[in-house]
């Protein structure tokens, strides 16, 4: 009983610590990368106040009452953002209990909202954030049709981790989706265009029907989601690979006047100029370079560099949810394949902030933004560097996770690990 109490006390303390965001912190002496084309600041003093970045100045004074974090010789960046995960929606994906990211039997797959399924206590969040990834887009990866509901943006610590609930409306328009939805791209596109035409503002026939005129419209979460799309409150995130399909997505954007973002998009680089002209960003894994199927014959590791060079806004996907942190390695590989370093870091900070609608509070290291700040012991894109300190919305996150606890427990190969604290 007393152990229980102690444990409860400890966890209450932890919650309190995470909940508090009032600490004033000064990160001094490092090289700060402000991003968004604003360059870097040597010998930077990064002040954090009330959860926000207060200022970033070279050699700035540390005001009284600020705790100093010495970052001499270190690199300071905005915490990174992974632009496509199921974080908080699954724990063990395969045969490990419910996987909330797979809403396979949902009757309505357009209106799905992350908040009802999101588990802030998932171990994958601490495992991820201690590696410097502080934000993520999280959403659904399966459904019975082509729609994947509304993805959210989360911060990887603190209370109320969901910082933007309706960030994008997701839809799968690749080969696999066509197979499931009518068994032909023609059928898939017909269904999607019909749905969008029916949902256009003014196309709602409820009010035209005299018999129903005075009836209160029933709640329809799909309609609510599509209204947000047509109101420009969130873009349509389209998973698609093949060049021909991507050209059709450009037409879709023109036809409906909605904001569109591509994801996965193996052959997007082949129509980079058209995408730049249409203002369509691309969310991608920059390491793909195999003809994985007949949709993605044109994949190349140079795709991210080419899209960036053509003026397309690029953001990065991690390899998968468990390995969300490896989005940083992906970015390093994009640089190895010709993308400028700053552009690769933008693809994990300011670009996704803009694409997913949180740029007012996150994405650059400048006054007024949420203090997602990471102190790295070297170039963050490098394989052998790691964070020395991670702040999320102004709170310093202990560099502890279920994984580090397992590491510490087994470093000396105990006889009975269960008794090792």
């Amino acid at each position: 009983m007393s152990i229980m109490k102690t444990l409860m006390g400890a966890s209450l303390l932890a919650i309190t610590a995470v909940g508090a965001s009032a600490e004033d912190v000064a990160i001094t002496g490092g090289t700060a990368f402000t991003m968004g084309g604003k360059g870097k600041v040597e010998n930077a003093t990064v002040l954090i106040h009330d959860g926000k970045v207060q200022s970033v100045t070279s050699g700035g004074e540390v005001p009284a009452g600020y705790r100093t974090v010495d970052a001499s010789g270190k690199w300071v960046t905005t915490g990174f953002m992974a632009s496509g995960t199921n974080l908080g929606l699954m724990e063990v994906g395969l045969s490990g209990g419910i996987n909330d990211a797979r809403a396979s039997d949902a009757k309505n797959s357009i209106g799905l909202e992350v908040s009802y399924a999101f588990n802030p206590a998932t171990t994958f969040i601490p495992n991820t954030r201690i590696e410097g990834v502080t934000r993520a887009v999280t959403g659904f990866s399966a459904s019975k049709d082509m729609w994947r509901g509304q993805s959210a943006v989360i911060a990887l610590a603190g209370d109320n981790m969901i910082v933007k609930e309706h960030a994008v409306l997701s839809i799968d328009m690749d080969e696999g989706s066509a197979e499931k939805n009518g068994d032909s791209r023609a059928a898939l596109w017909d269904m999607v265009i019909t749905k969008l035409e029916e949902s256009r503002p003014g196309a709602d026939d409820d009010n035209k029907d005299d018999a129903k005129k005075d009836k209160k419209p029933k709640y329809d979460s799909a309609k609510a989601a599509l209204d947000r799309l047509f109101a420009g409150e969130m873009p349509l995130l389209v998973e698609v690979e093949r060049k021909a399909d991507i050209l059709n997505v450009i037409k879709l954007k023109e036809r409906f006047g909605i904001d569109v973002v591509l994801t996965s998009a193996a052959e997007a680089w082949m129509v980079a100029d058209e995408l730049a002209a249409a203002g369509i960003p691309v969310v991608m894994n920059p390491t793909r370079n195999l003809p994985e199927d007949f949709d993605s014959l044109g994949t190349t590791g140079a795709a991210a560099a080419r899209l960036h060079a053509a003026g397309v806004k690029v953001a990065f996907l991690p390899p998968d949810t468990n390995n969300t942190r490896l989005v940083v390695q992906n970015a390093g590989n994009a640089v190895a394949m010709g993308m400028p370093w700053e552009a690769a870091v933008d693809a994990m900070t300011v670009n996704p902030a803009e694409i997913f609608g949180i740029a007012d509070s996150y994405g650059t290291l400048e006054a007024g933004k949420d203090a997602d700040v990471v102190v790295w012991n070297g170039d963050p894109l490098e394989l052998m560097t790691s964070p020395d300190a991670v702040f999320i919305r102004g709170e310093e996150v202990p560099l502890v996770s279920r994984q580090t606890k397992l590491r510490d427990r087994y470093i000396d190969l105990p006889r009975s690990p269960a008794y090792v604290k």
Binding site: G96, P291, L297, Y410
Partner: protein
């Protein structure tokens, strides 16, 4: 069943005929004539690998990691007739040698991936080309993965660009015993045999834990087929070994009786038991997919019960929990740097698995199991090294390279031929654009038996597979 039996007898007849030229018909003392002695052909799909053309190559002014734990700054490597003929500081280029001034760039042994499904689950990943799991029965030791290998998989070329010079193809892990593996030189050919590493022993894939019990326990054959549980898995392995022992005894008796002059009949061939018996006879190496420490602990006892050696545990996500036992039992662990969590038996993965296994004196290998991972195993080693150092395990880059070349070579039984920069070994070498523990470094040139299999500055040596011809992406930078 009938069909199967008649096919077996055809094979037997074929063999008897083939054996006639080799065996003398002997006479029994009593005057009764003996039939031909039936000896099994253990190499019915012989390697037709021939090295690509190469000359004398002298790589100099390089940072050399020898793959055994040594490092030579300002070193040189001399390659003649496909072999390494000198490694060190004070070597001169012979007349006529092609001299490559590395200008401080790094030179290492070629990377060997012990866990690949290239060619077997190739790109494009369409159903027609999905040839990696002979699901249907839990023990399919009669399936040989080389018969699934499609040499036109573009993944082989991408792997060459990542410094891969040899690799082991394995069947998948749906079965308790998935079948025979094959070790390849990473040089594409017209037929699968063109890629086979000459003289490499066969391996056999086994699988612990969740996969077999899921495939057979919750698949459509769930009532008829075992296993459904981990204890069912172990029962399956043990029965298979017991059958293989009986099969071995039957053939030994046949040989004994024949030599005694009796008109002995050879046992009916059973291709499944033949492979299992090959393991018991020490001719075939066991590579076992196993995640959890307790699953591995069980298998160490099954191994002792039936007197074979598990050469490696594959994935081995929890090897860090029993690294001392793995060292004691001389079993390698082929691991990812940081993949974990996708299923319960991978839930306890930690980033320090590889360095902790190394620290315990056990054999640590970095493997891929993935057509992208195989392209940058050097990066996986770098991450593992960094995480180990952070946890206080002091390992040099030169030592860490053993995870990529010499340890994999040992586990495949080819360490006498490749895996380190030693005089007399195959010239399987990578010239890197810089420090291969950096994310920005790429292989500039890859050599197999002294021949260039990848050259970042020569499009002709970047390769285009048949499948890619006439398709978007043909010949593009990859």
């Amino acid at each position: 069943m009938r069909t199967k039996r008649s096919r077996t007898s055809l094979v037997q007849r074929g063999l008897a005929v083939a054996a006639m030229g080799l065996s003398l018909a002997a006479c029994q003392p009593g005057g009764e004539e003996q039939g031909d002695f039936v000896e099994l052909n253990k190499d019915p799909f012989p390697s037709s690998y021939t090295p690509l053309e190469s000359g004398t190559t002298f790589i100099t002014n390089a940072t050399v990691l020898d793959g055994k734990g040594g490092r030579i700054d300002g070193g040189s490597v001399l390659v003649q007739d496909g072999k390494i003929t000198a490694v060190g500081k004070d070597i001169a280029a012979p007349d006529g040698a092609k001299v490559i001034d590395a200008g401080g760039r790094w030179v290492t042994p070629g990377i060997i991936d012990v866990h690949s499904h290239l060619g077997v689950y190739p790109s494009p990943g369409v159903q027609s080309l999905s040839d990696g799991n002979e699901v249907g029965e839990p023990v399919t030791a009669d399936a040989w993965v080389e018969h699934s290998n499609w040499p036109q998989d573009s993944g082989f070329l991408r792997a060459a660009a990542g410094g891969i010079t040899s690799l082991q193809l394995l069947p998948g892990s749906a079965n308790l015993v998935g079948g025979r593996s094959v070790t390849l030189k990473n040089v594409p050919g017209r037929v699968a045999q063109d890629m086979k590493f000459p003289g490499a022993p066969y391996g056999m894939k086994m699988a612990c834990g969740e996969n077999p019990k899921r495939v057979y326990g919750s698949g459509k054959n769930s009532i008829e087929y075992r296993p459904h549980t981990r204890m069912g898995n172990v029962a399956g392995y043990r029965q298979a070994w017991a059958d293989a022992q009986a099969y071995n005894r039957a053939w030994q008796k046949y040989e004994r009786d024949y030599k005694a002059g009796l008109d002995a009949k050879p046992p009916a061939r059973d291709l499944n038991l033949e492979t299992l018996a090959g393991v018991l006879n020490g001719e075939i190496l066991v590579h076992m997919h196993c995640y959890r420490a307790d699953d591995m602990g069980t298998m160490l006892d099954v191994m002792k019960e039936f007197g074979y050696q598990i050469t490696s545990f594959q994935h081995a996500v929890e090897s860090y929990k029993i690294a001392d036992k793995l060292a004691e039992n001389n079993v390698c662990s082929a691991m990812w740097a940081d993949w974990y969590g996708f299923k319960m038996e991978a839930y306890d993965g930690i980033r320090e698995n590889i360095p902790f296994v190394h620290k315990a004196g056990a054999c640590a290998i970095v493997h891929s199991d993935d057509p992208y991972g195989i392209q940058r195993l050097n990066q996986e080693a770098a991450k593992a090294l960094a995480d180990g150092r952070k946890a206080g395990v002091d390992i040099s880059k030169a030592e860490a390279w053993q995870w990529l070349s010499l340890n994999p070579a040992k586990s495949l039984g080819i360490a006498d031929k490749t895996g380190s920069l030693d005089v007399g070994k195959d010239a399987d070498i990578v010239l890197w654009s810089g420090d291969p523990f950096s994310v920005y470094t790429k292989a500039d040139m890859t050599f197999v038996d002294g021949a260039v299999t990848f050259d970042r500055n020569d499009p002709a040596r970047q390769g285009v597979m048949d499948f890619e011809l006439g398709q978007p992406g043909e010949g593009d930078v990859k």
